[in-house]
């Protein structure tokens, strides 16, 4: 689906492959949407929206620490997001504060600590706005390689583990009794989310990443009768949001990351008009 769009665009650029910044943004965004759609379905099904947000907020801390320790930023963000997820799991077992409060603490404190550390990093100039809201128009060919390489790996893990992941989502208890490992499924999903956050941060920024996970999936719900269909529809809707948002931002000279989210929201609002009960889930009463 990416190709037909990019051919027309690349013809405008000077170099043939991923020539101009706009087509690079489109390709990167479409690659990301293909991953956030299906993964976002799990976020919605498992009610992990705030959890995803918390992991995303910790990404800024990841950036700051990576620069401080001179390690690869994508790896650093992944590691910190995964650590925050692990910390939450451990804190939840303590049974003291509610998950809700724990998430609030982790989410905002990791963002704040990240911002404070960034303030200390005087030797490097950090584009804070770029990290918070993304800079999809600045993606390089290397970024695209990371998105497609990482994205392919994430999708492969999702597809290969689809049945146990879904079973664990429907009922961990049932999955466990029938020989599956719901605890492993949970960890897989957290690692995948940390990965998505790491590769998506540059595109849409830490404050908007979860919107790409949640909004297309929520929109897809009304248009789907099965989990698999919902995952596919969410990927397509995410792609539409990227295309629509980027063209919109070019036309009206608006910020690209937020424009993508606004486009996703527009699709969601349109989907509310669809009467789901008419489309799916009808039963045949007369056979009784």
């Amino acid at each position: 689906m990416a190709m037909s769009t990019c051919i027309t665009i690349t013809s405008m650029g000077s170099t043939p492959l991923f020539g101009d910044f706009f087509s690079r943004a489109l390709i990167a965004g479409l690659g990301l949407a293909a991953v956030t759609g299906p993964l976002g379905c799990f976020v919605v099904w498992r009610r992990m929206a705030y959890f995803g947000d918390t992991m995303a907020h910790s990404a800024l801390l990841g950036v700051a620490l990576s620069i401080l320790l001179s390690v690869n930023v994508t790896l650093g963000v992944f590691a910190v997001a995964a650590l925050v997820a692990g910390a939450l799991l451990l804190l939840q077992r303590q049974n003291t504060l509610s998950t809700d409060a724990l998430l609030g603490i982790l989410s905002h404190s990791s963002l704040a600590v990240g911002l404070v550390i960034v303030g200390f990093l005087t030797q490097v100039r950090i584009d804070l706005m770029g990290f918070l809201f993304g800079d999809i128009l600045a993606v390089s060919v290397e970024d695209i390689a990371i998105i497609y390489g990482g994205g392919t790996a994430i999708l492969a893990i999702l597809v290969l583990n689809w049945r146990p992941l879904l079973a664990a989502t429907v009922s961990p208890e049932l999955a466990e009794a029938e020989g599956l490992r719901p605890e492993v499924s949970r960890i897989i999903l957290m690692v995948l989310m940390a990965s998505v956050i790491a590769i998506a941060m540059k595109l849409v920024g830490v404050l908007l990443i979860t919107s790409l996970l949640i909004i297309p999936a929520a929109t897809a719900r009304r248009l789907s009768a099965t989990p698999e269909m919902m995952a596919l529809v969410a990927a397509v809707l995410g792609g539409l949001s990227v295309v629509g948002g980027l063209f919109g931002s070019r036309t009206w000279d608006t910020a690209s990351g937020p424009s993508i989210v606004v486009m996703a929201l527009a699709l969601f609002l349109v989907s509310l008009a669809v009467p789901t009960s008419r489309l799916f889930g009808r039963r045949e009463r007369n056979g009784a």
Partner: protein, 270 residues
């Protein structure tokens, strides 16, 4: 159980128990489930019913005693309550293949066995309590389990649905010859269908045929007021007291089928 001919034992728990965080959840469980046998665990909340069931399914390893499971034992599980969020679009058809891959013919056969063929395309969120429970039975049975574990199978189902579900459980037992472990908070309805009732309260308090358990003082003490109506039916019979005050009913206990007149039906299974 002693009066039955030797059968293929699916699972045996010997003096099994689980300790968690220094607390004993359940201990001293002796329990055998054979092919075609229905064993029911009853007991108040926190009495260790679920923990015992988890030892049976292998989710929990016993920290005391042993669990001997037949090798390659396939378990089908019907959970106590399963609320599927609206956000997850799930048809009955898709639910059937939740933990394994099955052909459309197998799905049809399983749904037909529980009388839910017409629900194939329905969204699970639309089903009534009884319909959903039937579908969950079908889902567990499609695996052709050797052992079926039913956790409070009639919760949230009205009485006529309850009776129908117990009939279904017996039918499943008779057609598949699976062993069935059922967890229940109430005794009266399950009685007629169950071979052995085990009454738990952190340990096995009493066991035996439904009629034996029903009349045991230990059962009456555990279930208090609610069971007082049952006490009217109490008969004298031989039993012995264990050290802990539990009562072990005589093995050849009376097999009175006690009708519950407010419910009024024990129609035979077709």
């Amino acid at each position: 159980m002693l009066d039955k001919a030797p059968k293929e034992n699916l699972i045996t728990l010997s003096n099994a128990g689980v300790r968690s965080g220094g607390r004993v959840l359940v201990e001293g469980i002796d329990l055998t489930i054979a092919r075609g046998e229905i064993v029911t665990l009853i007991g108040p909340n926190g009495s260790g019913k679920s923990t015992t069931a988890k030892m049976v399914t292998g989710v929990l390893k016993p920290s005391m005693g042993t669990v001997n499971r037949r090798p390659d034992l396939t378990i089908g599980y019907v959970p106590q309550k399963l609320s599927i969020d609206w956000t997850l679009p799930l048809t009955v058809e898709r639910l059937m293949t939740l933990t394994g891959r099955f052909s459309p013919a197998e799905i049809d056969a399983a749904l037909e066995a529980v009388g839910a063929t017409r629900l194939l395309k329905a969204a699970v969120q639309e089903l009534s309590g009884g319909e959903f429970q039937r579908v969950l039975f079908a889902r567990a049975m499609i695996r052709k389990p050797d052992l079926l574990v039913l956790d409070e199978p009639v919760q949230g189902v009205d009485f006529s649905g309850e009776v129908a579900l117990y009939k279904l459980i017996r039918k499943i037992r008779d057609t598949t010859h699976a062993g069935i472990l059922m967890i229940s908070h109430d005794l009266h309805v399950v009685m007629a269908e169950t071979d052995t009732v085990i009454c738990l309260n952190g340990h096995v308090c009493c066991r035996g045929t439904p009629s034996v358990v029903k009349t045991s003082p230990e059962y009456l003490r555990l279930f208090g007021e609610r069971s007082s109506a049952l006490a009217l039916y109490q008969h004298h019979h031989d039993h012995e007291h264990h050290d802990d005050g539990c009562v072990v009913g005589a093995e050849d206990g009376h097999e009175h089928v006690h009708h519950h007149h407010e419910h009024g039906e024990h129609t035979p299974v077709r």
